[in-house]
Symmetry: C2
Subunit: 341 residues, 2 copies
């Protein structure tokens, strides 16, 4: 996995232009290339480097291998009231997920709430993208995806659970609040960055090969025994997200995704629940609640252990402002590889 | 807080009968007393002692103080398509939440999915009750409640976040799977049980008064600095559940609940999202996915650190079977107090 060592900074426009060139070279049409380039650039812009620039060359590779079909379009499989099930036909995960979010918004517009189950899709990159997209249009979003197994269940030592990201977002005139949370305490990307820097993790992140809890990132990269958030709790949460993704999209669960030869979320199931706050207390009420809740947490005295008191999405908003001004950090090797495609 | 020292065992019927007598004495009518007695007894039966027998005397006390109005009925505030907003009018939390779940089921029956926002209600006791209730009728449920502040936000040392339980449930012919997860790693009940036994927590559960991470339950009962699941992640998750509960019910958030004189969830907001899998892949498909996923996690080799590999709800099902056979454990003092009411 590539990891940004943050060697150079590239402007938003340059980065997006370069990504677009790569997506066009993948065989995507102009409009789709523009969308995918924008989403990848914005992920890096918002500080989610793991799913921005760092995924572009890998995406190119997946297309070449035939794991992602850039020409595929989602097709409707079922529709009932406020619920729709779509087959992603293994098209680009970003395009399928944006499409599903738009369908969910249309359903929410009509019914107050909408559920879109998207089966047989591919990696959606940064999950927060869809929460942000919906919240910026004024909607509440609850979304998640399943993945192949990458984490042991509580009480076990072999990988049997996905690291299923869970997203919740709400609109406010000060900008959306967005939770974008994977089920392991640390990502493999974080392990690699920390390991390369010769550092320890802030808190134990899993078990080493001998079954000892450890804060050594290298030991965890080797054992593959990541700790779920909240130990047994995150293990159960991950299980539920996996089965509900499959049940609500008429799609596949982790156990089945593990048997698909092409890895990295190929064939996965995603859920998009969209709600229109205008049909409840209004968008202004959403903003009001968020303002009160933000002020509330920030009124706490700071902890001795450090860490900033922040609302979900505040870190990304800060990275965005900084990166717009100073350029988007990208590892030189990663950037060169993209430019060479 | 009372904690079961598991001194005596009471049969299901005896326990339910005694609870019913207390609820009748609270001024509840016969039918409502029957329902509340059943739910409290089933929580203890399923091993959720903290929200079964241990809450009955406290509920009686809350009614006497006027914090819960046993005569109140929910009233419809807003309705749009598949969304309804109800005012709980501070009636009994269990009855309001069951009512909301039933409304959600009716909406899901009609639209495939239904959202019920319930504002101004009272403590719903065991959150898993509503997931289980819906899943046993064949529906998928996603529910949560907000609460007053009981936990510091990440980076802060004063309580500013609720310990908002989050529930997900799905049906299968082998019995439902149910996630019922609060946002702190350990509950205050767990701290008290462990502290009374002179033991340490299995993992650090928060910060002591000086800001050191500790596994000493007594230090945490004193500092009130519980650790959210996944550290910063659970802090953000709790924030989102709080604001979304308020936004989607047109109700109050934690910052506002903190200003209500009567505590313990009085006036809180709850969300019930119900989905009919029959409108997607069918109930049999739900059962099939669950069966595959259960087998998958259980096929892992066991971890050295112990702990059982189990699906969400498996522990409760085991307690239920044991307690039905041998009687439901209850602390002698708690039981005597109930019998003396």
């Amino acid at each position: 996995m590539e990891v940004p060592k943050i060697d150079i900074r590239i402007s938003y426009d340059t980065m997006k232009g370069e990504f677009k060139r790569v997506f066009l070279k993948c065989g995507m049409d102009l409009e789709k290339s523009e969308v995918c380039a924008k989403i990848h650039t914005e992920s890096s812009l918002d500080g989610v480097y793991s799913h921005g620039a760092n995924r572009v060359a890998r995406f190119f590779n997946f297309v070449q291998k035939g794991w992602v079909d850039v020409k595929a379009e989602p097709s409707l499989e079922k529709s009932f009231g406020a619920v729709e099930v779509w087959n992603g036909n293994r098209g680009p995960g970003i395009l399928n997920a944006l499409f599903a979010t738009d369908r969910g918004i249309a359903l929410a517009e009509k019914h107050g709430i909408g559920l879109v189950g998207l089966k047989n899709t591919t990696h959606w990159m940064r999950g927060g993208t869809y929460g942000k997209y919906a919240a910026e249009k004024g909607y509440v979003a609850v979304c998640w995806t399943n993945t192949e197994s990458v984490m042991p269940p509580w009480g076990g030592r072999e990988v049997r659970l996905g690291n299923n990201p869970f997203v919740m977002a709400a609109p406010s005139e000060e900008g959306p609040v967005i939770l974008d949370m994977a089920m392991s305490l640390y990502s493999y990307g974080k392990l690699q960055v920390t390991g390369l820097a010769g550092k320890k993790l802030p808190f134990p992140g899993g078990w080493d090969k001998e079954g000892n809890l450890t804060d050594d990132p290298r030991a965890l990269s080797e054992s593959l025994r990541l700790l779920p958030i909240g130990y047994w709790k995150g293990s159960s949460f991950s299980f539920m997200l996996d089965i509900l993704a499959a049940i609500l999209s008429d799609g596949l669960c982790a156990a089945e995704l593990d048997n698909i030869e092409s890895g990295n979320c190929t064939g996965c199931s995603q859920i998009f629940i969209l709600i229109d706050p205008e049909k409840i207390g209004g968008r202004e009420y959403s903003g009001k609640v968020i303002r009160i809740a933000k002020e509330h947490i920030k009124s706490s005295a700071p902890a001795e252990h450090g860490g900033r008191i922040q609302y979900p999405g505040e870190g990304s908003a800060r990275s965005r402002a900084d990166n717009l001004k100073n350029g988007i950090p990208v590892d030189e090797g990663v950037w060169e590889r993209i430019c060479g495609l």
